[in-house]
Structure formats: C-alpha cells, structure tokens
C-alpha cells in the first residue's frame, strides 16, 4: 500500500513537473506592453487605395509598398495611409507580373516575388522596371513559385522557393551560390522545409526562413550553418494558438529595432521575437470568416508596425505600448 502511494505521488509529481515545464518553456508571457491598433485603411475593390488580397508589405524611408496580389499591382502610400501611386500590369513580359507576393526594398529598389511567373522582378521605387531574375524550374537559380525575397548588403538575393521546398542564395546576376533544404523534398527534421513562404536577413547577415507549414522559423548564420529555430515544442510542426507557437507562417521580417516579426496567419496575429527566438509580444485582429488576417508585417523606424490584412483587404497600423 505504501509502495502504491509513493508511486502515485511520484507520477503526480512527474505530470506536474511536465505541465510546469511546458508552461515555462513553451507558453511564455509577453515581455513588453501591448501594441495598440491606431489605424486601418483600405477595403475590397480595384480603385486606387483599395485592395484585393494584399499579401506583402515593405517600407522605404518615407513610403509603404503593398503587393495587391489579385489586383496584380503594387500600391504605394505614405506612412499615414494616404495613397500616392500604383504600378504593375498582369502578364509575363518583362516588367509585368502575376500574383506578387512578399516584397522587400534594398538599395532604392523594390524586389517582388512573382509567384505565377517564377521569377524575382526588380523595380525602381517609382515603379520603373529594372530587371528580372530566375525562371521556371527546379535547377540552380530556377524557381517554382517564389514567395519571398531578401537582399544582402553585397547584393546577393535570398529567395524562398515555395514548391521547390528550399531557399536559394543567388548573386545579383542570378547565378547560384547555395541553397538550404532538399529540392522538392518536404520534411520536418533539420535541413528540410515544408513549403517555405518567406526569408529575411538581419544586419549581421543572419538568414531567417519562414518554414510555412512546419509552423516554425529557422535561422542560419552568415556561414550558412543553423543558428536557431522556434515555433511550438521542439519546432517540429506542432502548431497551436499559444505565445511562441504558430499556425502557418506566411512572412518574416527583421525591423530596425533588430527584432523579428512573424506573420502567424491562421492565428490572425503578428508575433515579435528576439533574433534568438525569445517571444516578446503579439498583436492582431481576429477573423471569423473562411480566411485570415495578418499575412505580412514590417516595422518602421519609430517602432510602428504595418500589417497586410488579407481577409479584410486592408492595412493595419500598430504602435508599441508605453
């Protein structure tokens, strides 16, 4: 009887320890005051300032660039949401695109992941076409639905190659440097991806890959070796609504603050982390419809965060709490 009691106490202790461990390590609390939604703009439509499925967002010093996917155009706003201009035309000729996805600005040029045309298109910030990089395929420097792009200080491109299950590094002229992931092979273990949706670079050259359906972020140092991964227990495709967990990651960006912002699409929120993956904060607008809201985010110099809201066809502007 005494033995059974001891066994029971031991078992209860183990379960309690497990629960506390899970709570401490995998359900962290916010580390800073809550963000406040200060503004939204846009509605469904095709007029200037309206959107039909915004999917990507990025910033220059003074302007906000939004990829308006189903309208097949890029729209430009000031940081208060006032419409300034738009450009882009549906097609597959140079300068035309079809389903622009995640976008990024580097060196006064806008890089657009051209999802249907399997290439990266580069524009001046005034909308003038500069060049395109890549073509359809699964070989080196080829793409199958490129979904996100980042640009290093030396001009090298890093591209999330969605259906090829990899991220590629290319020189400015498109020549292949290296890749992460096995081409066409889905996996949840280290070294493989499950539909990567986006990439981002820190100032120091750390590469962050949004491993979409693995519900995690994986990072690699400038030497190309793994440096961190996070997203739920063990970062192994265990999804959920808790802080630090994801349910389909659609965008990753590193802001001027050095923090990492992750669009946690099925949870309708943006989550903020240190570059090592420590959870800091989350914010977003819940959605009750068949699709979801927060698909991409970018941080401005003053700490404001702009979010492309896919379900509501609008842009959200958030400010950090004080």
């Amino acid at each position: 009887m005494k033995f059974l009691n001891r066994l029971l106490v031991t078992l209860i202790s183990i379960v309690a320890l497990l629960i506390v461990t899970v709570y401490i390590f995998w359900m962290p609390s916010p580390q800073e005051p809550a963000y406040t939604l200060v503004k939204t703009w846009g509605s469904k439509g095709s007029a200037p300032g309206q959107f039909n499925e915004p999917t990507g967002i990025t910033l220059s010093d003074t302007e906000l660039f939004v990829s308006d996917a189903r309208n097949t155009r890029i729209q430009v706003f000031d940081l208060n949401g006032n419409f300034k201009r738009l450009f882009g035309k549906k097609g597959d000729a140079p300068g035309q695109f079809n389903r622009p996805m995640n976008v990024v600005i580097a060196g006064n040029e806008l890089y657009v992941a051209d999802y249907f045309n399997d290439r990266i298109q580069v524009y001046g910030l005034d909308g003038s076409f500069k060049r395109n990089i890549g073509k359809s395929g699964s070989g080196d420097g080829e793409f199958n639905a490129p979904s996100g792009v980042a640009v290093a200080s030396n001009g090298d491109l890093f591209v999330a190659d969605f259906y090829n299950q990899r991220a590629q590094q290319l020189h400015t002229d498109g020549t292949f440097v290296r890749q992460w992931g096995e081409t066409g092979q889905v996996g949840i273990l280290d070294g493989k991806f499950n539909y990567p949706t986006d990439v981002a670079l820190s100032k120091e050259g750390t590469l962050f890959i949004a491993d979409g359906y693995n519900d995690r972020i994986v990072s690699f140092g400038p030497n190309g070796k793994p440096s961190a991964k996070w997203g739920g227990p063990f970062a192994m495709n265990i999804f959920g609504p808790f802080n630090g967990w994801f349910a389909t990651v659609t965008n990753v960006s590193v802001g001027p603050s050095g923090h990492v912002f992750v669009a946690d699409f099925y949870n309708d929120r943006i989550q903020k982390f240190t570059q090592g993956g420590k959870f800091l904060n989350s914010f977003g607008i819940e959605n009750t419809g068949p699709t979801h809201t927060a698909i991409a985010a970018v941080e401005a110099d003053d700490g404001s965060v702009f979010v492309a809201d896919y379900a509501n066809h609008q842009i959200q502007k958030w400010q950090p709490g004080k």
Binding site: Y115, A145, Y266, I295
Partner: protein, 112 residues
C-alpha cells in the same frame, strides 16, 4: 398583283423568314452547346492560405485545356472550367491538386 396573290406572297415570305430564323436559332444553340466546356467543382481542404490557393490556381492554369480557375474559399471549392471538348479524368484532377500540396476530397462534374 391581286390581293390574294399578294396575301400568298406575304405568307410565303413570312414563312421563309420564320423558318430561316428558327434554323439559325437551332444552329446557334447547337454550336453553343458544342463549344461549351466542362466545369469541375473540386472540394479541397485547407484553402484559407493564399500561398496554397494561388498554388492550385497556378497548377491548373498551366494545365493544357483549362480555360479558367476560381477558388471559393467560403465553401472550400476549386472551380475549374475547361476549353471546348476538353475533359479530365478524376485521377488527373487529384494529381494536380496533390502536386499543389493538397488532397482532393470530392469532385462534381457539370457539362454545359
């Protein structure tokens, strides 16, 4: 021309116009029927993410014989319309959906 002959002529002309109009209508209807393609309503789970939904659209638009693709997120449907005379086997549709990273639950075929 006497009034009876005039009447007969008018009747004949009216009959000819009616017959030719009817023949044209039948011809137009039959050619329209012949020109119409097939519509497939595919039930696919997990379409809420645009990367997925666009992926399916892209795969179908690159498939020979596909005229248009629409995604109905609310009902989880992919609606594929084919060009004149083009049909697909269910297995072909399943393969395309699988290649896009999804599983096709069912398919309904509508011939116009």
């Amino acid at each position: 021309m006497n009034p009876t002959a005039l009447k007969n002529t008018v009747f004949k002309s009216t009959g000819l116009i009616f017959a030719s109009t009817l023949a044209s209508a039948v011809l137009m209807w039959s050619s329209a029927s012949f020109a119409a393609g097939t519509e497939y309503n595919l039930r696919v789970d997990g379409l809420a993410c645009p990367f997925c939904a666009y992926g399916i659209e892209k795969k179908f638009l690159k498939t020979d014989g596909v005229k248009s693709v629409d995604v109905d997120l609310k009902n989880g449907l992919v609606i594929v319309k084919t060009k004149e005379g083009k049909t697909f086997q269910e297995d072909t549709l399943k393969t395309i959906v699988n290649d896009a990273g999804f599983t096709m639950r069912s398919v309904k075929k509508k011939t116009k």
